[in-house]
């Protein structure tokens, strides 16, 4: 099997995995980066969200073959010491309950404020409605995104 080159959180990897393997499972099982979560395998829940060249994508719907030589950022690589404004806001608003969906929520939110620095409530709802939270921390997620947006202002 040919090996596929991948850059994850700034580090290069050469991996011998079938090219149709979803990026999600390469991250979790091959590279041991378990911060990105499995929730549905169909791109319906957002738990597997990572950044591909800065854009939010669902890693369960992204094959490893399609991300060769591109920059993948996972929750582990989002910042040093939880210093991303979104992460800071998440702690300030005490968002997480069980926490399982939160990696995906944070990655989605980080991508949102990177392209829309001051999102309206409607823009937040639209961007974030692909990410399910069963503990339903939605209200706090909204507030945290607004807080992070204000902090950057």
């Amino acid at each position: 099997m040919n090996s596929i080159g991948l850059i994850v959180n700034g580090k290069r990897h050469e991996l011998a995995v079938p090219p149709d393997t979803p990026l999600l499972w390469v991250l979790r099982d091959t590279l041991g980066l378990t911060g990105t979560k499995y929730g549905c395998g169909m791109g319906l829940c957002g738990a597997c969200t990572v950044h591909l060249d800065g854009q939010a994508v669902r890693s369960c719907q992204t094959s490893i073959g399609s991300v060769a030589k591109r920059q993948v950022t996972t929750i582990e690589g989002l910042s040093a010491n939880r210093s991303h404004p979104i992460q800071r806001a998440w702690i300030a608003e005490q968002v997480p309950q069980c926490g399982y969906c939160q990696s995906g929520q944070i990655m989605q939110a980080a991508a949102l404020v990177a392209r829309t620095p001051h999102p309206t409530r409607e823009q937040i709802d639209e961007a974030m409605s692909g990410n399910i939270c069963r503990c339903a921390t939605y209200q706090r997620i909204r507030r945290a995104i607004q807080r992070a947006a204000e902090a950057k202002a």
Binding site: Q87, W90, N131
Partner: protein, 732 residues
């Protein structure tokens, strides 16, 4: 992950104060005492470590425990950290949670442990300075000698303290609640940082050297059996190591049935999933495999007019009071099956060795897990080690051990540790759903708006009947057990009251779901009282307050020690109405609805405000909740749990429904089972009734029951249309 820490090693180096104690975390009172399962360790560097394995599934008990500890110890909050307790098999007694009991059952033991540690530090300081203990005081992580002002940090005193005889924790003085510094204040969750940087370990994240991953192919119909399988193509998938049948387990406990099937074990999760896709398996379909929502509904309808199976309440003569009464109000309410749909699907990692078993699981029931693995494996209890990881939501589902037993079945065929993974489809197909409910209620008012008669028939796919714990012909009262969910304690006085129950037989697996059956009954009784209010042409809030105006205790018919108080219902109703601006005018198409219910000893009232458009579309704009849970240890935690409960209930009102066809759930993933997403999530305001009463029950579930009736009542207020079936979808 540390796997072979001994007790001595866990206690670390000599110069540390280590106190072990017993932390009961089930809501039922513990009959045993003295088995250490939690530790406080204070080291010379002034670090305080609280070692625990209390399950944390989002409900915030871990944080509440740390608050109680910090309070009595008079510690500096920033010097406390929480660690997983050492994996000593004896400690797994009573490591479970459920019934919203986590905070209330640990209230006294945590405080006593903290106070005990404080006392010993005071004694150590007194000894070191040769002064009297009662001249010393603990404050913010230090001991101070009041007359002289001498101070020492806790860390400086641990060497002496560790050599003292531990004081009796039952004899230490606890703080007066008026002096609380931490308890009662909103505190930051101790587990939040790991949950924002991806470092928190859930069950699915467990990684043990040499581990393999497995999925199980199961019969897609209830009650089916494996007929045969061909694994040639499955074994050819790269990474697949082994394929074998696993048998169905419904003994020794039928409460946690597994369905059996064919296991595919591989080097990675993806390879296991692909291997299962390539597996050819055939199944024998039994009679249960043909059940459908249609066949079930027909049974419900037939049983709803047949004689009842059990009469729970019969005061006066409701039947004759209602017979022939012209102005009676009648209604039928219906609630379908619901899935748990935790974000983290079921999973467990097991390694079976020659001399014991090690388990890593996001379980809610550590003690039972250990017990059943011991039973299944034949190993004694002290050879079964259970690590409880964080849990990606539970809502009652991880109170079953079926998926854990399956993981053991697979691991025992392999030398390596094996993680059994359930895909989302597995999880949705093999859930233990919230039962299906149908209610018939009739009521009659007199000219003074008093309730002359209230007659309620509940029908459901009984959880106790499904479990059949006793394996004998189930006693009708036992079968009705869980299903009555406070419907036998309706707080509104009525002269003639009758409550009947009939189980409807079904093969659909079911068990406890957040707030159990109280949510299903609250929808009926709190909608019906609203219908009576309308009949009386009385504002629904005022109507309730009038009926509840006398201070009364409502006694449970089946438990002498359990009662509700009308005073507490009035308090939460009043607070919710006030904060929601009840009575203020609303524009056309908008309406407010109110409902109140109790879970355990936690009273919750909610006001929902909805807007309905001409095309039948509707949304809930806001929900205001008032909560009386006794002393709120962590008010922010209380708010978070009530918000969560409201939104969890909202899925069942908006769009969530499990329908059955060909002996299986029709919904397989989040496309079929549509859960609440941010765009439909209402604004929620939670108001806590100030109370110094000891926390007697938690808030993990209390937010759920009032939501559905509050929304249905609001829709009626906005449109004049009664919604009696969930989910609501659109208003026709």
């Amino acid at each position: 992950m540390n796997v072979t820490v001994t007790r001595r090693e866990a206690m670390k180096s000599g110069a540390a104060l280590v106190l072990g104690f017993y932390l009961p975390v089930r809501s039922a009172p513990a009959s045993e005492h003295g088995e250490l399962n939690a530790w406080i360790r204070i080291t010379p560097d002034n670090q305080i470590t609280f070692l625990t394995e209390v399950p944390e599934m989002g409900q915030g008990t871990r944080t509440a425990n740390v608050m109680m500890l910090a309070e009595e110890l008079d510690a500096d909050w920033s010097t406390i950290r929480v660690e997983q307790a050492p994996n000593i098999p004896e400690i797994y007694k009573h490591l479970g949670t459920g019934g919203s009991g986590g905070t209330s059952s640990t209230w006294l033991p945590m405080r006593k442990a903290g106070a005990q540690a404080r006392e010993m530090l005071l004694m150590a300081a007194a000894q070191q300075w040769q002064v009297r203990v009662d001249e010393c005081r603990a404050e913010a992580g230090s001991i101070i000698h009041i007359p002289s002002g001498r101070r020492a940090r806790f860390g400086d005193l641990v060497e002496i303290a560790s050599k003292l005889t531990p004081v009796n924790p039952d004899q230490v003085r606890l703080k007066d609640p008026r002096d609380f510094r931490y308890v009662g204040k909103p505190m930051a969750r101790v587990d939040a940082p790991g949950k924002v940087d991806g470092s928190a370990i859930f069950g699915l994240d467990v990684r043990v050297p040499g581990m393999l991953f497995a999925v199980i192919a199961r019969c897609p119909h209830f009650g089916g059996k494996l007929a045969g399988y061909n694994d040639r193509a499955a074994r050819a998938v790269p990474g697949v190591r082994s394929v074998f049948a696993v048998e169905r387990l419904d003994r020794p406990s039928s409460a946690n049935k597994t369905v059996g099937g064919v296991a595919v074990v591989a080097e990675s999760t993806w390879a296991a999933i692909q291997g299962r896709k390539a597996l050819e398996a055939t199944w024998e379909r039994g009679p249960e495999g043909y059940e459908s929502s249609d066949t079930l509904r027909k049974q419900f309808e037939a049983q709803s007019i047949a004689p009842p199976n059990f009469i729970a309440v019969d005061r006066g003569n409701a039947v004759s009071a209602l017979a022939g009464a012209r102005k009676k109000v009648q209604a039928i309410y219906e609630l379908p099956f619901q899935a748990h749909a935790t974000m983290e699907p079921m999973n467990t990692t097991v390694q079976v060795r020659e001399n014991g078993v090690e388990v890593w699981s996001p379980t809610q029931i550590g003690e039972e897990t250990q017990k059943w693995i011991a039973k299944l494996s034949g190993f004694p209890l002290n050879r079964v080690i259970v690590h409880i990881t964080f849990s990606g939501g539970s809502f009652g589902r991880r109170g079953q051990w079926d998926y854990i037993a399956e993981a053991w079945q697979v691991a025992k065929e392999m030398k390596e540790p094996v993680q059994l993974v359930w895909t989302r489809e597995d999880d949705m197909l093999h859930d233990f759903y919230r039962p299906y409910f149908l209610h018939r209620i009739s009521g009659l008012l007199d000219d003074q708006e008093q309730i002359v008669a209230w007659s309620h028939r509940i029908l459901s796919t009984s959880v106790h009947e499904y479990f059949n714990w006793d394996f004998k012909a189930p006693d009708p009262k036992f079968v009705a057990g869980l299903e009555l969910g406070c419907a036998d304690m309706v707080p509104y006085p009525a002269q003639n009251v009758r409550l009947e129950y009939t189980p409807v037989h079904s093969a659909v697996p079911r068990a406890w779901w957040r707030s159990v059956e109280t949510a299903c009954n609250a929808f009926a009784t709190e909608s019906f009282i609203d219908e009576l209010a309308h009949e009386a042409r009385h504002d629904p809030y005022e109507f309730r307050m009038t009926l509840l105006k006398e201070d009364r205790r409502i006694q449970s018919p089946s438990d002498q020690s359990y009662f509700h108080e009308t005073r507490k219902f009035r308090t939460v109703l009043q607070l919710a109405a006030e904060k929601a601006g009840w009575g203020k005018p609303l524009s056309k198409g908008r309406g407010r609805g109110i409902a109140c219910y109790v879970f355990g000893h936690t009273y919750v009232a909610q006001v929902a405000e909805v807007s309905v458009s001409d095309d039948g579309g509707w949304r809930v704009n806001r929900v205001v909740a008032a909560v009386d849970c006794g002393l709120a240890v962590n008010p922010d935690g209380v708010r978070a749990q009530i918000e969560g409960g409201i939104n969890y209930a909202f899925t069942t009102v908006l769009s969530g429904e499990i329908t059955i066809k060909d002996g299986a759930a029709e919904q397989r993933n989040f496309d079929g089972y549509r859960v609440l997403r941010m765009k439909d999530a209402p604004d929620i305001g939670v108001f806590i009734v100030p109370s110094m009463e000891e926390p007697a029950s938690g808030v993990g579930e209390g937010g759920v029951p009032p939501l559905a009736p509050a929304v249905a009542n609001a829709i009626f207020a906005a449109t004049g249309k009664r919604v009696r079936r969930l989910p609501i979808l659109t208003i026709s």
